[in-house]
Amino acid sequence: MKWRSGDITVYQQSKEFVDTVVIPLQPLSFGISMKTSAGMADYSLLIAEETERQLHGRLFLMPAFTYLKHDSEEALISRLLSWVKELKEEGFRHIFFLTSDAEWKKSEQKLGENLLWMPVIPMETMDPSYKEEIIKEQVKQLFQIILHKWQES
């Protein structure tokens, strides 16, 4: 499900079935790294949307958590943790962060949730059918992680 009013209606009727949230973490930066950061956004959005399509009924895709690349680490983490707190109160049991920004890997411990880090693949000049293929493969692997978490609980 996505953050759209139509999906929210369904969500509110069948809340007990939706227990998983995916939050894409998207960095913003300007100057030379502007392109890289936009590439990350493209890529993680494609991955996130395909995952959501496959697991529509149990997974909620949040709007992206956007931040400036030079925001301080503590500020970011505390902001993200307040999202987590709110989501937990809402009743979500599995929270996944999806990002291509390697910085998050350093603070994985402090986040305490599942951080899915995927190194970015530049897709700008790629042939659409090839692109689709790559995304499908990547999502398949993500899938395994999510399914595994579900089976554990």
């Binding site: 079935f17 399509r53 496959q54 697991l55 529509h56 009924g57 149990r58 399914l147």
Partner: protein
């Protein structure tokens, strides 16, 4: 025929009626066309898309992807859809939608080891028989949608997915 057969008055009558009728028809035609337009319009579900060659379809459900044009307001985009296609015992082609009738996850064939030869939904464990019938005791309350299908020149064409009656 002599010239007096048609009087001046008659001649004018004929010409005026003719021209008037022509003008009236010119005005009425588009109106009538507007009125009956919905009947003449080609139904959206007549747009069928070639999915695969029939020879590639076996008895085991196989997943095929195809693209359809979707109109969302003003925005037209291509959407990839997939279908589980197989031949049943009578040799008929069955094309089932992969969207779980519970909450819309994507189902898969034969992926649950404890229940082989069934469609399985990874989200909440919904299961369906090979013919798409939902299995009682699992979350889905309706059988899988079935695509309108037809075969032309050895190719399978699929249209819209239509819901079927519950089990």
């Amino acid at each position: 025929m002599s010239k007096e057969d048609i009087s001046r008055r008659q001649f004018l009558n004929y010409t005026l009626t003719g021209v008037g009728g022509f003008m009236a028809a010119g005005m009425l035609m588009p109106m009538v066309r507007f009125a009956i337009d919905p009947i003449l319009e080609k139904g959206a579900d007549q747009d069928m898309v070639a999915v695969t060659e029939v020879s590639k379809i076996g008895k085991e459900p196989k997943r095929f992807n195809f693209k359809i044009k979707q109109k969302d307001g003003w925005y037209e985009s291509e959407v990839t859809q997939s279908a589980w296609v197989y031949k049943n015992g009578k040799g008929e082609l069955i094309a089932l939608s992969p969207v779980c009738k519970h909450l819309g996850c994507t189902i898969d064939w034969n992926t649950d080891p404890s229940h082989p030869n069934q469609f399985y939904c990874p989200c909440h464990g919904g299961r369906y028989e090979k013919d798409g019938t939902n299995i009682k005791g699992t979350p889905p309350l309706a059988p899988l949608d079935e695509y309108d299908s037809k075969v032309k020149d050895g190719k399978l064409y699929l249209g819209k997915a239509k819901p079927r009656k519950g089990a």
